[in-house]
Point group: C2
Chain length 425, copies 2
C-alpha cells in the first residue's frame, strides 16, 4: 500500500473538478485506488507517506486516436487535406515499417515521447506489418504503459506494399491476439483503416473477429466532405458513413472508437447514440488537415460519449493537454459562428474527456474514485505561478494546461507503477 499527499484534482463527472487541497490518495499493491481523503484517516497515522508538497496530482492522459508509424512525420507536411496528405506523406512513411529495425527505432521514440507528454494509455494505429506491430506492443509492455494495439486492415485504394488481404490480416491478427494473451496492459483492437481502404470482405472478416474475441474497434468517421462522398460511392447501400461500418458489425456491436466525426449529424448521430459509439475528438488534426469543426456540444447534448485524440501526425503534437486547449478553442469558434447557440466546452468537460471518458476503454481508468487504476501525473508548476501565490488549485491546473509542458511533469504513474522517462531516441 502507498499513500500519496498532494493537491489532488480529478473529474468524476464532466461538470466540475473535485479538488482535495493537501489531500491524500491511498493505492493498493496492485495499483488500484483504495481511497481519496481530505485528511489522513486515523488508522493510517504514522504510516509512510510520499509527500509531493505543493504540487498538483491529476489523472494521467489517455490518447484515444494516434498513429504510431507517423511519428517521424509529426510537425511537418502541414499543407494538404486528408486524401492527398495520405497519398503524399503518410503512406510512403508507413511503407518503411516493413523494415523491423526502422519500426523499432521509431516506436521506441514514439512511446518515450508519449510518456514524456504525460499520456499513460493510448489507442494506437500501427501498420499492416505484423513484425512491426508486435514490436510496438512489446515496447508498450516493457515500459508498463497501457495500449490498445491496432494491426491495420487495408486492401484497396492504397499502395500495394501497404495492403494486406482479409485472409492475411486475420492470420496476423490471430498471432497478435496470441502474443498478448497474458498481458494486462496491452490489448489488441480491431482496426479497419477507414471504409475507402477496406473491401467488404475485409470488413466482414473484421466484424466477425470483433464478435468472436469480443474485441473493441477503432477507425475514422466523417472527417471531411470529399471522404464522405467517396464512401457513399463505394458503399452505395449504406445510409450513411457510420452505417457502412455498422453493417459489418464494426459500429458499437463491441466497444467502438470513431475518430473525427466533423460532419456527423442526423441518421449517423442517431446510430452512434443507439450503439453507444464513442467519438474521438481530434481538434489539432481537424485544423491541420482543414477538415472542419466537429460539433462536440451537439454530441454531448444528445448524450454521446466523447474522448480526445492527438491523431499524430495529422495532429502536430502528442500532448493531450495541447489537444484540450484546442478542444475548448474550437468549441469557442463554433459558439461565435453560431452566434452563441452552442455553449463552448468548459475545462472540466475536456479534462473529463481526456481522462475518465478515454480511460473507460482500458477498464476503470482516468479517475481517482475507489477501485480505479492509479494512473497519475505530478505537476510542479512553481515556475509558472511564482507571481500568483493566491491562485487556487483549479486555476493552477488551467494555467499548466495552457502554458505548461513536459518540463512541469515530475512523476508519471500507470496503474500504480512509476514510469521512468527514457531519454529520447
Amino acid at each position: 500500500m502507498k499513500i500519496y499527499k498532494a493537491n489532488i484534482l480529478h473529474t468524476p463527472s464532466p461538470e466540475c473538478f473535485e479538488v482535495y487541497r493537501d489531500g491524500y490518495i491511498v493505492v493498493d499493491d496492485e495499483g488500484f485506488i483504495l481511497g481519496l481523503h481530505d485528511t489522513l484517516p486515523a488508522d493510517m497515522e504514522g504510516m509512510p507517506i510520499v509527500d509531493f508538497g505543493n504540487r498538483l496530482l491529476i489523472p494521467a492522459m489517455n490518447d484515444m486516436h494516434v498513429h504510431a508509424p507517423q511519428y517521424a512525420n509529426m510537425g511537418v507536411a502541414m499543407d494538404m487535406e486528408l486524401i492527398p496528405w495520405l497519398n503524399t506523406y503518410t503512406f510512403p512513411e508507413e511503407e518503411k515499417f516493413s523494415n523491423e529495425e526502422y519500426a523499432q527505432t521509431v516506436y521506441h521514440a514514439f512511446v518515450a515521447e508519449l510518456c514524456r507528454q504525460g499520456t499513460m494509455r493510448a489507442a494506437v494505429f500501427a501498420t499492416t506489418h505484423l513484425p512491426a506491430t508486435l514490436c510496438l506492443a512489446k515496447t508498450f509492455d516493457e515500459t508498463g504503459m497501457g495500449a490498445l494495439i491496432g494491426l491495420v486492415g487495408m486492401d484497396r485504394h492504397s499502395p500495394e506494399s501497404l495492403t494486406n488481404t482479409a485472409q492475411s490480416w486475420k492470420a496476423d491478427m490471430q498471432q497478435l491476439i496470441q502474443s498478448l494473451t497474458n498481458k494486462a496492459m496491452v490489448k489488441p483492437i480491431i482496426t479497419p483503416r477507414f471504409i475507402p481502404s477496406c473491401t467488404p470482405e475485409m470488413l466482414q472478416r473484421m466484424g466477425e473477429m470483433a464478435a468472436q474475441y469480443d474485441l473493441p474497434v477503432q477507425s475514422h468517421l466523417s472527417e471531411n466532405k470529399q471522404e464522405i462522398a467517396w464512401v457513399q460511392q463505394l458503399e452505395p447501400h449504406s445510409t450513411c458513413y457510420g452505417d457502412a461500418y455498422h453493417r459489418y458489425g464494426l459500429f458499437g456491436q463491441t466497444p467502438t472508437l470513431m475518430a473525427h466525426c466533423c460532419y456527423t449529424e442526423g441518421e449517423e448521430l442517431q446510430l452512434m447514440r443507439d450503439n453507444d459509439v464513442c467519438v474521438v475528438h481530434c481538434p489539432t488534426s481537424n485544423c491541420n488537415l482543414a477538415s472542419g469543426i466537429a460539433p462536440i456540444r451537439q454530441f454531448l447534448q444528445v448524450g454521446l460519449r466523447v474522448a480526445l485524440g492527438s491523431d499524430v501526425a495529422a495532429g502536430h503534437h502528442l500532448s493531450i493537454f495541447r489537444v484540450m486547449q484546442y478542444a475548448v478553442q474550437m468549441s469557442k469558434l463554433q459558439y461565435a459562428l453560431s452566434d452563441g447557440k452552442y455553449p463552448f466546452l468548459t475545462l472540466s468537460e475536456v479534462f473529463h474527456m481526456a481522462t475518465k471518458q478515454g480511460g473507460s476503454f482500458f477498464g476503470k481508468v482516468g479517475s481517482f474514485e475507489v477501485g480505479y487504476a492509479f494512473d497519475a501525473l505530478v505537476i510542479d508548476d512553481s515556475d509558472i505561478n511564482g507571481m500568483c501565490p493566491q491562485m487556487n488549485c483549479q486555476q493552477r491546473l488551467e494555467r499548466f494546461i495552457y502554458l505548461g509542458d513536459d518540463r512541469h511533469i515530475t512523476h508519471r504513474f500507470c496503474q500504480g507503477k512509476e514510469i521512468s522517462l527514457n531519454s529520447k531516441h
Copy 2:
C-alpha cells in the same frame, strides 16, 4: 564586423523562404547586415567566423500586439467573451499597476519571457499609469530589446482607478516622449484602449499628438459583434468602427496597427487599404475569447498588410511561433467553412507576417536583406530531428515551429547585440 555561419532562412517576400544552406551572414559594428552569402566572399577568407554548425538561423519574432500588465493572467480565466472578460479579469489586474513595485516585478518577468520565447521587438500596451509605464520602457531599454511603448488612454466606461483624462494623458505622454528622446530601440506609440474607453476629447487629443510628434498608433478594431454594436452606438456619426478612429486622425494618418479585425469588411476594409492601416492578427486571442476567425486571406487579396500578435493575456502564450501555427490553422478552418473558396495561409506567409511585416514598424527589421538590423534566433533542433536526417532546412523550420519551444532557441540577437536570457522572476 561579425561573420556568422549557419543554415539561414528568411522571407524577403511572403511567397517563399529564401534558404542559405551552410550560408554566411555579415553584420557591421552597429548591428546591420552587410551581406548574405552562399559561400564566404574571397575578401573575407581567414577572418574569424562564428560557426553555428548545423543549426538554423532565422529572423527574430516581432509581437505587434501584447498587453504587458496582463502577463500575470496569462493562461487563466479562459471562460468569457471580450467585454465581461475585461471587466472581470483584466481591469482588476491592471489596477495593480498603480503600485510601481508590483509593476516592476511583472514587467521584468514579462520582458524576460518575451525574450525566452524568441521575440526581440514588441508593440506593447502598458496601463494608464505613468511610473509603471516608464518602468516598462526602462526594462526593454536595459535588455537591449526593441519596443513601442503605449501609455494607455481611457476616460470612460472603465473603473475609475484605471482612467485618466485627455489632459493628464497628454501631460504623461509628453513625459514618456521626453524620457525616450535618445533611445534608439524603445519608442512611444499613441494608444487609445479602444473606442468604448475613449471620449471624443481623448481621441481628439491623441490624434493631434500623433500628428505633432509623428508617432505611430495602435489600438483594437472590430474584435467581436457586441463591441462593434457598442461602438456604433457611442459614435453614431461614424460610418464604421474604423471610421471612428479615422475621424480623429488615428487610422493611418501615421503608421497604424489595428489588432483583430475579425469582422472588418466593406467600407472598413476599404478605409484600411486607403490608409495603409496594418492588421495585427491575433488568432490565439480570437479563439480564447470566442471572437471568431479573422478573414486574413481576404485582407491579403486586397493588399492589406498583416502582422501577428500574441495578445497576451487573451492570447494564452507569448510564443509567436505558436501564434503562427494558429494563423495557419484558423485559415484552414476558414478554407473548410468556405468550401475551399479562400486558400489557407502558407508557412512562408505567416513567417513573413511575424518577421518582416511586423518588423517594418521598427525600421528595417525582420529580414536578412542588406541594411536590415540583425535581429536573429539560432535554433538547435537536433533532438526533434534525430530520426529524419534527410529533412531539408525548410522542413526543419516547420517542425520547429510546430513542435519546438524555447529550449531549442540557443542564441538571440537584437540589432546585432546578443541578448542573454535572464532567469525567470
